[in-house]
């Protein structure tokens, strides 16, 4: 799985252009589920029919995309002008390497004389080393996107680092959940969501189409365990059960359920409270007439940077938490109140 994680992390897949990651995930799902489809927003939906008489619907989600840049102009000397997709720390992007889906690589530059604090996307450019506008236009087109991509690093102690790692690890975790959970009485929908970095546009419509009875989301969250940091969440201290974020207050019974499963199976967990960030769970919550949703996060340092760090032990614990949750006989007692 580490190799698959490495390859996914090194794949450039910005919001709206998740195809390269989707292809890998669809391939990895072969033989594990009944059907896989892709919807109008790019969400990949894997469906396993339950064997029970009146199967209900369980939905799990993990996000595929990452933020980045979109090409909006190709200049005289081959420089690319760009706009941002999702949130990009512009001042920290200067000099960084970016990669396009077709393998073209570039370096982010800024017009000289701009103060770091005043950098805007309109003053940036991407240099793909082209000698002319024609050469550049032969490699990229208006509308093409690129993302920060760095080589995957394995520290051999459970810690790993790479681009978009928390999201890609969440995706692979759900594939592993499907593999280990086996046949269920109920229908299982695993959604690899698109466009989470842009106001979570994929999750809502996906949930609308599925109309699940219960849902859990898995994604990354910021860990604060760095020097002088607030240390609210720690990498390696376990998956985080979400209590609330800026888009959702997780229904109390949903988070308490996860907590009970964690206790029963001795899975160490942390608690996530993030008033200023939004998540797919928020979009799931409000879909249709409202959805019972719970959320788990993999703690990650340097989220949104070119290189996130996570602990594979946290990922493994999240997998176990989800497997026990969806295999539980009393699962729907948490929603049938």
């Amino acid at each position: 799985m580490k190799q698959l994680l490495a390859s996914l992390s090194e794949t450039s897949a910005t919001s709206g252009r998740e195809e390269a990651v989707a292809t890998v995930l669809i391939d990895a799902l072969q033989g594990l589920v009944d059907t896989v489809k892709t919807d109008a927003l790019g969400n990949v939906i894997a469906i396993s029919r339950g064997t029970g008489e009146s199967p209900r619907k369980i939905m799990l989600t993990a996000p595929m995309d990452q933020s980045g840049f979109m090409v909006i102009d190709i200049e005289e000397h081959g420089y690319l002008r760009v706009g941002t997709i999702g949130t990009v720390a512009l001042s920290r992007s200067i000099g960084m390497r970016v990669a396009f889906a077709n393998g073209t690589q570039g370096i982010v530059g800024v017009e000289p004389g701009i103060e770091t604090k005043d950098i805007q996307a309109s003053r940036l450019f991407v240099d793909i080393g082209a000698l002319s506008k024609e050469e550049a236009a032969g490699k990229v087109r208006i509308g093409d996107t690129c993302a920060f991509v760095t080589p995957f690093v394995d520290f051999d102690n459970g810690r790993v680092a790479g681009s978009a790692l928390s999201s890609r690890a969440a995706c692979l975790a759900l594939i592993e959940v499907v593999r280990r959970a086996g046949t269920l009485k109920d229908d299982l929908y695993v959604v690899f969501t698109a466009q989470k970095e842009v106001e979570q546009r994929g999750a809502g419509p996906a949930t609308y189409g599925i109309h699940p009875d219960v849902a859990w989301t898995l994604a990354g969250t910021d860990a604060g365990d760095v020097p002088e940091g607030k240390r609210a969440l720690g990498v390696g201290a376990g998956p985080c059960i979400k209590i609330m974020d800026g888009s959702v207050i997780i229904p109390v019974h949903m988070r308490e359920w996860l907590s009970e499963v964690a206790e029963q199976y001795r899975i160490p967990v942390q608690w996530e409270i993030r008033p200023r960030v939004r998540s797919d769970a928020g979009a799931v919550l409000l879909a249709q007439g409202g959805t019972a949703v719970g959320a788990v996060s993999i703690p990650a340092r340097y989220m949104g940077s070119s290189s996130e760090m996570i602990d594979l032990g946290d990922v493994e614990a999240a997998i176990r938490l989800f497997v026990h949750t969806i295999q539980s006989d009393t699962l729907f007692s948490v929603v049938d109140r």
Partner: protein
Amino acid sequence: MLLKRLTEAAGPPGGEDEIRSVIREEIEPLSLSVRTDVLGNLLAVRNGAGPNVLVAAHMDEVSFMIVHIEEDGLLKFRPMGGVDPRVLVAKPVRVGVNKQWGGIGAKAIHLQSVEDRRRPVTMDQLRIDVGASSRQQAEQTVKVGDAVVFATECELIGDGCVKAKSLDDRAGCAVMIEAARRTKGGNVTFAWTVQEEIGLRGAGAAAYAVNPQIAIVVESTICFDVADTASHAEGTKMRSGPALSVMDSHTLAHRGLLQQVVELAQAEKIPFQFRRATVGGNDAGAIHLAREGIPTVSISIPTRYIHAPTQVLALEDYENTIRLVAAVLDGIRDGRIHP
């Protein structure tokens, strides 16, 4: 001229009655099945064969609302839609259903210091003057809650250009009317939507109701190819054809549908360009997220000075946009473009 009839009608967000009846009259001879929904969206259906298509352009225009009448008869106002206050000083407007003439002026500007005058005027400092001598006198023709639109007349100018207010998005509305006239068959709902300028509100409801397999949004879009603007800040260029969106603040283009439209435009030799921007918004923002998500393409007419009292477009761009929208509709009907 169709553009003249459409742009000179009033249609503030939430008060689109006048423009709706103008459009309704224009489409009458087409024998479509027409209805107005509860929000005011005008929906006209052609029940033919092929995938269910929604084509949308918004009827509303950026405008203002009178919020207070001062004792001296001057009117305080607030915007409905995004308007740069700097474009407002000294502009003529029409207030309320009586279309009372008014002029926008800055209050007490002569009392400002030289320093103050360097700062842009805010909307709070502006007033509409309808020539009233007092509040009571003003209230004979205007009232709080009245909508205010620019007084610009539509005319042909220059080398095949049109100047008017509200080309955003009456030009799109006109393109749709012409496309409806020039195409036949297909399973199409033409939706002239409401309240786009204040949050894409009509379009979301229309998309939910129609639940199409494909949606086409026809808009006017930013065109700043003037005054030494750098190429990457233009958005679009005038006389380079309809602009296809790749991204804006609310939507990332559906790549598959966009590619099919590009190929069709190339095959039919219809000039087009890409909208070279990542910000802004249009009805696609609401439509593409309706229900389970709807593949949506935005086709826009380059329009200079958008959201300002006088907007300008080139008739060749307007005509090529009609050609492209009509070709896409026929393409969907014939299976050349599929969801």
